[in-house]
């Protein structure tokens, strides 16, 4: 006996059309979506970041509301990837032009024992624009790194630290938006476009 075609069943026809329709809508939605150069994150309120800044004052990420923040976890004794990544942000801020005043860089140390506020201050002062340096008790740093999804571990007897070298873009509403590795930051115009995008939406 031959099976009846799907179109013979009105219910099944409606179901198939609904699935096709949804697919089409999703495709249209994706097509219209802004394409980030970085890796988009699930939009949600950024985890807490309550530490001590490089001037020895208490810092809370919520104080940066109204501005976009580029948050990076590293350490000052990191000779290659950390300064390379921070240096790569200078052309990004140049590309931001008049919007550059509405964005800040935050450098959180993973090495609070060596990175005192004074050392952090000397370190961040060497970069343009000058990041806000953050340090604090080891437990608070550990918790912050965990909350921010930054994996790390001491290496070579504690002299160096293996760590996720990523910049997290937080929008002016204090939400996680995009994450960047060094290769993505290498395109300053595109990163500036991303930052402007999250400033507006």
């Amino acid at each position: 006996m031959m099976r009846r075609g799907w179109w013979r069943s009105p219910l099944r026809a409606v179901a198939v059309c609904a699935v096709l329709g949804c697919g089409l809508l999703a495709y249209a939605h994706l097509g219209a979506r802004y394409g980030y150069i970085g890796t988009p994150l699930k939009v949600r309120l950024a985890p807490r970041l309550q530490l001590t800044d490089d001037r020895g004052k208490p810092f809370d990420l919520s104080a940066l509301r109204g501005r976009a923040a580029l948050v990076y976890f590293g350490y000052t004794h990191c000779p290659d990837i950390c300064p390379t990544t921070l240096a790569a942000l200078a052309p990004v801020f140049q590309a931001l032009g008049p919007d550059r005043g509405n964005a800040v860089i935050v450098f959180v140390t993973l090495d609070p024992e060596r990175d005192t506020p004074a050392l952090l201050h000397a370190y961040v002062s060497a970069f343009e624009p000058m990041p806000i340096g953050l340090t604090g008790p080891a437990a608070a740093i550990g918790a912050a790194a965990k909350d921010w999804g930054v994996s790390w571990r001491p290496a070579e007897g504690g002299a160096y630290i293996d760590h996720a070298s990523v910049i997290t873009l937080v929008d002016p509403q204090g939400r996680w938006r995009v994450r960047y590795g060094l290769s993505q930051v290498a395109d300053p115009a595109a990163v500036a476009r991303d930052i402007r995008h999250v400033m507006k939406s």
Partner: protein, 171 residues
Amino acid sequence: MNLAGPRRLRCLLKGAVVASGLATAGVAHAAPLTDVGVSDGWMRALPGLPAAGYLTLHNAGSSPATLIGATSASCGSLSLHRTSRLHVMSHRSGLAPGSMAAAPGMTTMQPVAAIEIKPASSVRLMPGGYHLMCDQPAARVMPGATVPVTLHFSGGGSVDTMLPVRGPRGS
């Protein structure tokens, strides 16, 4: 060659000077490697912190050259390192499942025993890759200065180079 007497003499003298120069260099450094050239060298200085040195090595010879170390009077120690990505997540990462769109791997910096430069090719020591690690840099390692570096190769050869020092921003 049909050279006049005095000219020939000058030529011979020049040869002798070059030869004695090489002999002197040979005393200082086991054997200067003539096949290996260095270009685009620079060092990034951070105030009182380890500095990274970068350069490009060219091997014009017909056999591989292997860089096995470096020394500098301006560094407490100078070693070969490589920054690379670790794709295995550490158990300490503490990533909450679904907390992020993409879990980034760790970047690690490890000592390197040797860097091989194949015949007629180049290897770049550059930010985010191979680099020289200058630990305990001398106070004179600051932007605008030049750091003398001797690169040591397997077989006993060496190459001297000067790395201009740049600021943290690499400019």
